[in-house]
């Protein structure tokens, strides 16, 4: 697919393929447009299957001209595992876990950042930057290091320590802001006009967002070129959620896969649920909130793609739900116990919503459901702290027998 222009999602105005992110006429978000004419579906599939072992196998559907050069931190082709014991626990038919913690910096952010950093280089930038709740910070710092670019990473100063440590180590300029993510985002939007930098999720946002489509492509390929019946995924800004829909729509339109869009179910934490609240209220406007949740990677109180996430959930017969902090912790535990996958709080949110949908009877037993786990449990260790008890004993057989007496008899 040849990349053509940036187009406004609201009014359709077209712009050149530069570092631009909003429409100068109506302020709407810009999105990358492609020219699909002349693409042969079977040839495109063959090319994908002969491609690299990561997201660059989908180069024809990403905003570049020509092939991508080798990428030492190429993300993607993360495991899609069938979770039968999870399905059984929840009384469901067929559940798959897309474990996107299995990326170079342990979250789905490697996908969007790999695309944005490659585009930054193509556009001639020497410095990349971002506003982040943590996972993006890790990814930008790492991919900038791999690409030999300097970087500035802006985060709320009260972020989980693991996420700060896993950012600073790459030699980035780590800037902790005394405020929440929305404050960080506002500052970065202002800075993007003052500094000649590529802010991956501000002035390079249209390209960055395209990276999330690879999650949809991989799912289809890993299911043997089939589309799942239902998708359950987290919503922070709503960008990844909507791009899952866009990726599937593109392949449907181009004939790479047959079927229809899945039912889209979005997951938010109750302590930061502007999109779930708008869904419940039946409106298309997300009233901003001040986040208060353990799911810090989803703590965006003013979600840029909220209206589009609402459209997608409503048009596919899905929903957007929220869960409490206790349900998030239980969700982390549920996934770990039934699949051996340890996810961060965002994954706990997604699991909590999956459980809610299943218990409510929203999911038919013949549905094939794919659940998107976007981050790694080691980054939010506090959430695991109270969820189990360690047996502490003296190094004697007698003490061991005493401690486990009840269980041995059972």
């Amino acid at each position: 697919m040849a990349v053509r222009s940036l187009n406004c999602k609201e009014c359709g105005a077209g712009y050149e393929l530069g570092a631009a992110f909003f429409c100068e006429t109506c302020f709407g978000p810009l999105e990358v447009a492609y020219d699909n004419s002349g693409m042969d579906a079977e040839e495109a599939k063959r090319k994908i299957q002969a491609g690299s072992r990561g997201i660059w196998r989908y180069s024809d559907f990403l905003p570049f001209e020509g092939e991508r050069p080798g990428d030492p931190l190429e993300p993607g082709l993360t495991p899609l595992v069938r979770a039968d014991r999870l399905a059984e626990r929840l009384g469901m038919g067929e559940v798959w876990i897309k474990n996107d913690a299995a990326n170079p910096t342990h979250s789905f952010k490697d996908r969007v950042v790999a695309v944005a950093v490659a585009k930054a280089k193509e556009l001639g930038f020497e410095t990349v930057a971002c506003a982040s709740t943590g996972n993006l910070a890790n990814a930008v710092a790492a991919h900038a290091a791999a690409a030999g670019l300097s970087s500035y990473v802006f985060v709320p100063a009260d972020l989980e320590e693991q996420k700060l440590l896993a950012t600073g180590i790459y030699g980035t300029n780590l800037v902790g802001i005394r405020g929440n993510y929305d404050d960080v985002n506002r500052l970065c939007t202002e800075l993007s006009a003052e500094r000649p930098w590529a802010f991956v999720n501000v002035n390079l946002r249209p390209y960055y967002a395209e990276g999330s489509k690879t999650l949809a492509y991989e799912t289809i390929e890993q299911l043997g070129w089939q589309i799942p019946d239902r998708i359950v995924g987290p919503i922070a800004s709503g960008s990844m959620f909507t791009k899952l829909g866009r990726g599937i729509t593109e392949w449907l339109e181009l004939g790479l896969v047959e079927g229809e869009l899945p039912t889209f179910c979005g997951a938010q934490a109750e302590g930061c649920s502007p999109v779930a609240t708008a869904f419940a209220d039946g409106t298309s406007v997300c009233k901003p909130q001040r986040p208060d949740t353990i799911a810090k990677s989803l703590a965006i109180g003013d979600p840029a793609d909220g209206p589009y996430a609402l459209d997608l959930a409503r048009s596919t017969g899905g929903s957007i739900e929220s869960v409490t902090d206790d349900e998030i912790t239980a969700g982390i535990r549920l996934l770990a116990e039934t699949t051996g996958i340890f996810t961060e709080t965002a994954g706990g949110v997604t699991m909590g919503v999956l459980e809610k949908l299943a218990r409510r009877g929203d999911i038919d037993s013949d549905e094939r459901v794919v659940v998107y786990i976007t981050g790694e449990g080691l980054k939010t260790l506090d959430a695991a702290r109270e969820s189990f008890r360690m047996h502490e004993i003296d190094p004697t057989l007698a003490d061991f027998e005493r401690e486990f007496a009840a269980e041995v008899v059972a």
Partner: protein, 91 residues
């Protein structure tokens, strides 16, 4: 009362290149109207049917006016009103 209104770089073609405008007004709405009186091209880009467009954010001294009284939010002498695109960010 003198209010400073900051215009995003991408809209400065409509202000003849000016990034900061000094206007009078006691609410955000009044201050913006004063800006539109000086540069009529901005009115249509920032507002629709008398309200802010849905992808426009406005802040008074860094505080989103949707957490206050919207366009009715009062402003005081020396306050800074910032207009920014809402589509940035995302995790």
């Amino acid at each position: 009362m003198s209010i400073t209104v900051k215009i995003p770089a991408q809209l400065r073609t409509a202000t003849g290149g000016e990034g900061e405008l000094e206007v009078e007004g006691s609410t955000v709405g009044e201050a913006l109207d004063a800006v539109f009186d000086q540069h009529d091209g901005l009115r249509e880009r920032i507002t629709q049917d008398g309200d802010l467009r849905r992808f426009v954010n406005v802040y008074v001294d860094g505080e989103d006016i949707r957490f206050q009284d919207g366009l009715e939010t009062s402003v005081n002498d020396g306050d800074e009103v910032t207009i920014l695109p809402a589509v940035a960010g995302g995790e």
